[in-house]
Every structure is written in structure tokens, then in C-alpha cells.
Symmetry: none
Subunit: 243 residues, 2 copies
């Protein structure tokens, strides 16, 4: 990211599940953030006393000092860094507790990476320390090969004028592919970005969604020009027909 102004876009991730922490951190790095990690509340508070960052991603359930207490302590110590809470439970009251503890937003696991990144961007945009969102700005409307997809409505018009109603998963897969147009996206990447961390259907499920997308948007689904197979690896989306 071009505007890595000092430590402005540094993020602290406080999460005790190594798998989840790794996934989150990797994706934040891919977005251009500098990332620090803490495995428990004490570590987090210690780090925060010595360092500054643009955002703290904080698991509510932590060994020792829990996330809510960490946030309260931060605030008591005069640290007003934005906090995004992650929580296992879906209890809406948790959300209120998080906000009352001084948090800024709240996301319950398992979450889609897309949504996680959206929230991170939203928080940082609000604090105005991060203004180059344009680079990865999610486009609301995608056009390719005569098709037109509106991601805000999960709605599309195919090349033949036919109106299409996408399901949630179809839309998300298409979005991930389109955001990496021209690049190879593995089935594993798709599973992680669309389904989240805890749920892992077989990779055949991905194939099926590709099939559905082809049926919707390819003129000749058997000879795809937009949803290409990369044999042994995954798929690749092209907005233009054969390059």
C-alpha cells in the first residue's frame, strides 16, 4: 500500500487460536497492513503500552485477562485506539458488552474474511488514518462479457438480457474471483474466503459453484471464457474474453 505512513497502518491481533490468528494476520498483510500479534491479554496490554497502532483486533475469549477487560484497561489508560472485537458466541448482548467496554465494532465467528476486511477498512476509514481504500475498494457493479452483476443486490443481467438472482455463496465466490481477476485462486483460498475458518466443505463444492456461475454467465458453459480452470490448482477469472 502506497500510504504506509509510518506505523499508521499497523494492526495488533490478539487471538489465542493460532490457526485463526494466522489466517487473519495473513490476510491483513495481504492488504498492506503491518501486523503484530499477542496471544493473551497481558501480552496485548504490555505491547500496547510500548507501541502504537491503528487498530486492535481483539478476541473476547482469551486465557487470563479476557478481551473486554483488555479493552476497558486500554481505555482507562487513555488509549483510544479503535478496537474490533471477535467473539465465538452470536449472542447479541455480547455486542452491547463489547461496545460498552469501549469497542468500536464487533464480529462473531465464524466470519467471512471479506466481511472482516470490510469492517477493518470501515473502522480505519472512520478514524481517517487510512485513506487509500480505493486500491482495494469493493466495486459494487461488475461488468464482463456483456454480463452485469450488482453485488449490493446479488442481482445480475446476463449477456442475453436474462435477469439472474444470485445466491449468497454464488455472489461471494464471484466477488472473490473478480477481485483477483487474472490471478489464479485455489479452491482452498475460495473456501477460506467465502466459507470462513470453521467450516470446510469439500473442494467439489467449489467446482459446483463454478459450474453454476458458468451456466449463468458463459455463452458456452462448456467452453468458458471467463471462469477458467487452472488444472491441478484452481480457477481464474477473466473479465475480457480470451486474451
Amino acid at each position: 500500500m502506497s500510504t504506509t505512513a509510518e506505523g499508521a497502518s499497523r494492526v495488533l491481533v490478539v487471538e489465542d487460536d493460532p490457526h485463526l490468528a494466522a489466517g487473519v494476520m495473513e490476510n491483513l498483510r495481504a492488504e498492506g497492513y503491518e501486523v503484530a500479534a499477542a496471544g493473551d491479554g497481558e501480552q496485548a496490554l504490555e505491547w500496547l503500552r510500548a507501541n502504537r497502532c491503528a487498530l486492535v483486533v481483539l478476541d473476547v475469549m482469551l486465557p487470563g485477562v479476557d478481551g473486554l477487560a483488555v479493552c476497558r484497561t486500554m481505555r482507562d489508560e487513555g488509549n483510544s485506539t479503535p478496537v474490533l472485537f471477535l467473539t465465538a458466541r452470536g449472542d447479541p448482548a455480547d455486542r452491547v458488552r463489547g461496545l460498552e467496554a469501549g469497542g468500536d465494532d464487533y464480529l462473531s465467528k465464524p466470519f467471512h474474511l471479506q466481511e472482516f476486511l470490510l469492517r477493518v477498512r470501515a473502522i480505519l476509514r472512520r478514524w481517517d488514518w487510512y485513506r487509500s481504500a480505493s486500491a482495494t475498494a469493493a466495486t459494487a457493479v461488475l461488468r464482463f462479457g456483456g454480463n452485469e452483476v450488482d453485488f449490493r443486490a446479488f442481482r445480475a443481467r446476463a449477456w442475453n438480457g436474462e435477469a439472474q438472482e444470485l445466491t449468497e455463496k454464488e455472489a461471494m465466490i464471484l466477488k472473490v474471483l473478480a477481485e483477483h481477476a487474472g490471478e489464479i485462486v485455489s479452491r482452498e483460498d475460495l473456501l477460506e474466503r467465502v466459507w470462513g475458518y470453521d467450516v470446510f466443505p469439500s473442494t467439489r463444492t467449489v467446482d459446483n459453484f463454478i459450474l453454476r456461475l458458468r451456466k449463468r454467465f458463459e455463452r458456452d458453459p462448456a467452453n468458458p471464457r471467463h471462469f477458467l480452470t487452472v488444472w491441478g490448482v484452481g480457477y481464474r477469472f477473466l473479465a475480457e474474453g480470451e486474451p
Copy 2:
């Protein structure tokens, strides 16, 4: 009018009590917001015509032009900046009046600053979420499919000429949906926008209100053309029938 600062986190406080104004402003600044002040309605409107901001905190009782009138005027002038009303009285009817005038939330004095900040955050968060909206100006009268709804009176005339009295919740849900016509609005978004950040009826409650709106305004409630379901996500309002 090209304001130098990106208006993302600027807040205008319109309050004639200097003591209260100072306290509110100080706390907003501590949270990282840039703050502007106006002592009466005229000043506020003038400032709003020349500047942009993320939120207006507006006292209902003001010398000269009162808060409700300020909000109505803003809306009439096409300004859709979120408004948080402050009021001395605890009269629940005030809340309705505030919402009718085009406000987004309502807080009665005396309030805890903590709660005030929570509301501010909640409003800005959902505003962020909706910022990509098609900038549908908050209209007082909504027309779709032969129906005509007057949000100021919670009154409507259905396509068959039948007069309808909307309840508060019905009207608010319809309003939120209409403001984001064509886009998907999740049940959670609706709950937060209509009920508030800390009240959580079940999502089935939302379904029921959709049901009622369909009964009131759809020619064939079983095959809705305006209040569409997006499976697994939420609802979508269309002013036009299937285009």
C-alpha cells in the same frame, strides 16, 4: 465548499447550553472526532450549507428555530447527514417526532456520556455501512407500484385506493428499506436501524413486519414484487416491479 478535511469524522454539535455543549464536544474530541459547534438553529443551517460532516448532534429545544425544524429543513435541502437528537423531556412521543423530522436516533437528557458516545458510534458505524447507498434522499412521500406513503403522517394509500394507517415500526422499516431501494438490507441492519443498537427482538419479528407490509402494499402478497426476500441474508425493496 471544497472542504479540505475529509468530512469522514467531523461532528457538528448544535446546543445552546454552553456547559453541556462543552462536555459533549470534549468527549467527542477525546474519541478522535473533529468537532464544530453551533449555538442556534440558524447558525447550524448556515454551517451545514457550507460544510459537510459525518453527524449532527442536535438539541430539540433551541432558541429561534428549534431542532426539529432544523432537521426538516436539512432534509428538504437534500442534506442526508445522520442526526442524533438530544432532548430535555423524556416523552416517548418526542422520539417519534424526531424520527418523523428525519432524525436517526434520539437521546433524552440527562444522559450518561458513555451512552451518548455509544449512540454516536452506532450511528456512524451503520452510516459507514450504508454509505455506498444510492444516495436516495430521505423523501417525505414514497410512491411505488401505485402505493403512496407519507412518512410524516405514517399514513398511506394503497394501490386499490384503500387508506392505510402505518404503525411506527412499520413506517420505519419501510423507510429504511426504501432508502436503500435495490440493495439488500439484512435483518440485523433493520434491527439496528429501527430498534436501536441495544434492543434485540428476534429476527422473526422482522419477518412479521415484512409480512404486514406485503399485505398492505403488494397486489399479490404471496408473490411480492416490491418486498423481496434474499434467502439467507435479508430483504430488498424495489420501487419498480421486476424490471
